[in-house]
């Protein structure tokens, strides 16, 4: 009665399976899209929040200790546990937000430190000179301090982005792990080719993001190159 089963794409023990990529293209693209959007969203929000926290940390010694200490505690919380705690609170259909929330929190660990380090590394002479030229605090921040802190901030941003790409996979426990969803299927069904493809895509994504940020960093700080020529 029942029609016969379609032949398998490839034996699960194969590492390479072209047919899998063709047959599952739309799934792979969806997973990739989710992975990228979660990463980008988390890093952008993380940047904004980290900037705010870093400015706050500058106000007082105790605030800085509190904020940096707090970020140390965050990175010791296992992300799986964080999801387990947040998802039931905000609901299953919003679990993608829970994943995003977790990713933002973890990105702060790196980004806040990067901002604080970068801003602290600004030479006092430069600040004095700008003040002498009549720069107000806002202009000072955006025209002098941030550009000078940029290398440290960008370095932190790169690390945060690469680690976020890796962390997204753990969203799989609530079905929002981007490429992690493919990894889960590979694990359940013992498909080597799918495990390999998903892992390679994760790495590719991290490398591309890192190179992209490196390029942006170069473009944003042309004086570094110029000074090398001089």
């Amino acid at each position: 009665m029942a029609p016969s089963v379609t032949p398998a794409l490839c034996p699960g023990t194969d590492w390479l399976c072209g047919k899998y990529i063709t047959a599952r293209r739309s799934d792979i693209v969806l997973a990739l899209q989710e992975h990228v959007s979660l990463t980008v969203g988390a890093v952008l929000i993380g940047l904004a929040v980290a900037f705010g926290l870093a400015l706050l940390a500058r106000q007082a010694r105790w605030l800085e200790t509190l904020i940096l200490g707090g970020s140390t505690v965050i990175y010791t919380i296992p992300s799986l546990a964080l999801l387990a705690i947040v998802v039931p609170l905000i609901g299953l259909t919003r679990s993608r937000l829970a994943v995003l929330f977790g990713l933002v929190l973890y990105s702060l660990v790196i980004l806040v430190r990067a901002f604080v380090t970068g801003l602290r590394g600004v030479p006092p002479d430069a600040v004095e000179a700008a003040r002498g030229m009549g720069y107000g605090p806002v202009r000072l921040l955006f025209r002098v301090e941030l550009p000078l802190a940029l290398p440290a901030i960008m370095a932190g941003l790169r690390v945060a982005t690469v680690s976020t790409v890796a962390l997204v996979t753990l969203g799989v426990v609530v079905d929002h792990g981007g490429l992690g969803n493919l990894l889960q299927e590979a694990l359940d069904k013992s498909y080597r080719f799918e495990a390999l493809d998903a892992a390679l895509l994760c790495i590719a994504l991290a490398v591309v993001a890192d190179l992209l940020l490196l390029a942006i960093q170069r473009l944003l700080s042309p004086w570094r190159r110029r000074s090398a020529v001089r």
Partner: protein, 244 residues
Amino acid sequence: MNLPRQVASWLSDGSHWKGSDGVPAQLATHLELSGMAVGIALAVALPIGLWLGHVGRGGALAINISNVGRAIPTYALLVILFVAISATHRNLETVIALVAFAIPPILTNTYVGLREVDPEAREAARGMGMNGGQLLRKVEVPLAMPLIMDGVRIAVVQVIATTTVAALIGVGGLGRFVTDGFISNDPGEYGAGAVLVAALALTFEGFFAVLQRRVDPARRAGRRGGRVRAAPAEQTPVAALPAG
């Protein structure tokens, strides 16, 4: 929200502290897996980092290669190793995945630490007739020690937090309380799992803080502003990476 109360009551239930599923047993597994991973990572990354830092070449390449280790999600590596090897050797697979994660901070910090040694100190040592080995042992390593220790600290704390992920392929450790608790919807249990892992990681964090103060007299005397240092941006010693 009564999560803290649920966690407290889970932790104070004596039955959760007994048997092969109990807290002590899972804690032992957790420490065993983490300890092996850090041990292997140290054995691999320290000599390479010291050598490259000493000769002053090839460091950027080594760091970039080891950073690929960071780009591979631990979960991806676990799944790959699981489908590649077998369900029989899951502890081994977990250790390998964690090693890949622990190498980058140790390698990077060791290399950067050695390269940051004041060239004048090096020159002086050479002038005193020290050979390469003596220079490394008596000058470079002691001066680089704070950064090396920082790398080890980061590796240890990250690995402890990340060992949790192994529960996703059915390996033991404190992560079991997190996944079991999530699946059976017991907030007390997954909350307790989180608290236990965080407490363990913070314990090591504290341990290293004390240790670092011992090996870094400068820190003891002066700069008390915490651990942030103005590092050369291009080769920032690795920041702490959340992962588990």
